[in-house]
Chain length 367, copies 2
Amino acid sequence: MTPGSPSTDLLALTAALVDVPSESHAEGPLTDWIEQELRAVPGLAVDRVGDNVVARTTLGRAHRVVLAGHTDTVPANGNERARIEGDVLWGLGSSDMKSGLAVMLDLARTVRAPAVDVTYVFYAREEIAAHLSGLLELQEARPDLLAGDVAILGEPTGGEIEAGCQGTMRLEVVLHGARAHPARPWMGRNAVHRLAGVLGALDRYEERRPVVAGCEYREALQAVRVEGGVAGNVVPDEVHLLINHRFAPDRTPAEAEAHVREVLAPFIEDGDRVEVVDLAPAAYPALEHPLIASMIEREGLVVGAKLGWTDVARFSELGVPAINLGPGDATLAHAADERVSRAPLERVHRALTGLLLLGVGEPSGPS
Amino acid sequence: MTPGSPSTDLLALTAALVDVPSESHAEGPLTDWIEQELRAVPGLAVDRVGDNVVARTTLGRAHRVVLAGHTDTVPANGNERARIEGDVLWGLGSSDMKSGLAVMLDLARTVRAPAVDVTYVFYAREEIAAHLSGLLELQEARPDLLAGDVAILGEPTGGEIEAGCQGTMRLEVVLHGARAHPARPWMGRNAVHRLAGVLGALDRYEERRPVVAGCEYREALQAVRVEGGVAGNVVPDEVHLLINHRFAPDRTPAEAEAHVREVLAPFIEDGDRVEVVDLAPAAYPALEHPLIASMIEREGLVVGAKLGWTDVARFSELGVPAINLGPGDATLAHAADERVSRAPLERVHRALTGLLLLGVGEPSGPS
């Protein structure tokens, strides 16, 4: 097989993956299907841990490359069925990141004699709280399965390299008031009305755009859930707001938390609560490893910053330098009009095929 | 029995009623108990309709007085058990309006030879949406049970007459945005952030205080519930806000609705939604009936405006002039520190005993 001409219709394979629903916590059927496909490939050692499945070559090569991707999606938004129009596939998870899974699955089935050993990691529950992650489950149950020299995550990058990633934290804000009858609200204090200040600050928030190791990041601070109210006949005395903060790799989690607390401070009073409920650190851009550097040079790949948090941070913590390289479009992830195009799918497939077949080396023949 | 000296400890009877929980939709056990008590009184015709119970004298008197009260409470707030300290009873519903029920129950048991016929109406589901009201259920199933010359609601008024009542409407506001990944919020629009404007307007709202038939009303506009959010990893595209508006009897429901829409207008865009989901009109102050007028004069009762909506509006619609007169303190209704004192309990008991024993007449002996 020649790098650059996949024998598989990758758009059709992605569509097949989209058509197996796999919202977080419900990845079982999709994992079953992937596991079955991997077990059918001669020479792959396949391990299943919960709703995660790992397939490895064991060829005794000098280097091992880990290709990893999550199988779950966010909740559907009227886009649960795959639909192909020309060279574009629409549907939930098409970008984030079933197109990446399609590349991994095809490489596992077709690249039988790689120059490096390869580990394919398909894992569950990435789109929800970090402590529920299937990759964390693997890390705790079978850390040996995640070992490698470099890791490449198939998160949506439009076929470019996105190095490092921003960190993410969720903070729960609880504002208090005092219940009263809504015909006499002056006897109490409406906690929901108190949200006006916090939400105004979030709406006016001007994010930093720091440049780290040549990559420009762009931070964000967003309310993702709000809930308050006792009954239709009661002035509410409590409201809960869940805020998500994305922070660049030039800040530690503690620095990022201090920043958010500073933004909220004018609206927080004694008795209110601001608490970090979920945290995943940022990862510094990691482009130095010869396997990555040679792939970038060979394919002329564009390198940029990853704004979203990805599990490159988790691999970094494990001591495995990691990058993001996937066919999806990150700006469409989680949106109703999520889609993926054929060109970046084939570009990523070609780049990874080259990496697996050539390792740190140059193409040996005419390409 | 002499008016003014109840043979019953009304504070203890109220405590017993508080200790039978009766949150809206769960009034069954309390209704059972009240029904049993009423059926034990000779000469009362007792009817049960769902979780409502009505007891009537049938003495062929020239006038019929309706005494009515709701049996339900709002959800508990750490105050579900009755606690008596001296002449004060603390607990859920003590003010709104189990103290009123205690007066009614005691009158039903002790005033055996009234000068007027009396109808005692104990009904369910007043604290929730108007269309669920037990009084509405009675009105539809057995309107004959609600007939009378005047109606007196035992809603909390601190032992004063509160004439008429404010109207109430609930409006649901739905603001829209566009989903996105919270690491790239600029690709969408956060619907929860859009709440800042609406909640700021509610927080700054300056209410009218119109004087109607000598009674000063005070309007109100309050958020009572807020809900929004798709997942911790998604910029939300929709948020729901439930608003409660209380309006004085000088405005029709249509005028009141137009006013709320005007307040909200600067923050509402095409595709958003503002909808009245629940409505109960105001009631004009009704103090002219001789039965009411003579009771006010006899007892020297203070007359004021009712800020909260009560079922006097429903009796008005049925053609029965109605007022509020109850022992509770309306400013404590629905609050965690809800309580009632012995003095207004006994004052209301005395006034109503006088009304039942004397009708439109004067006391016949020394008092």
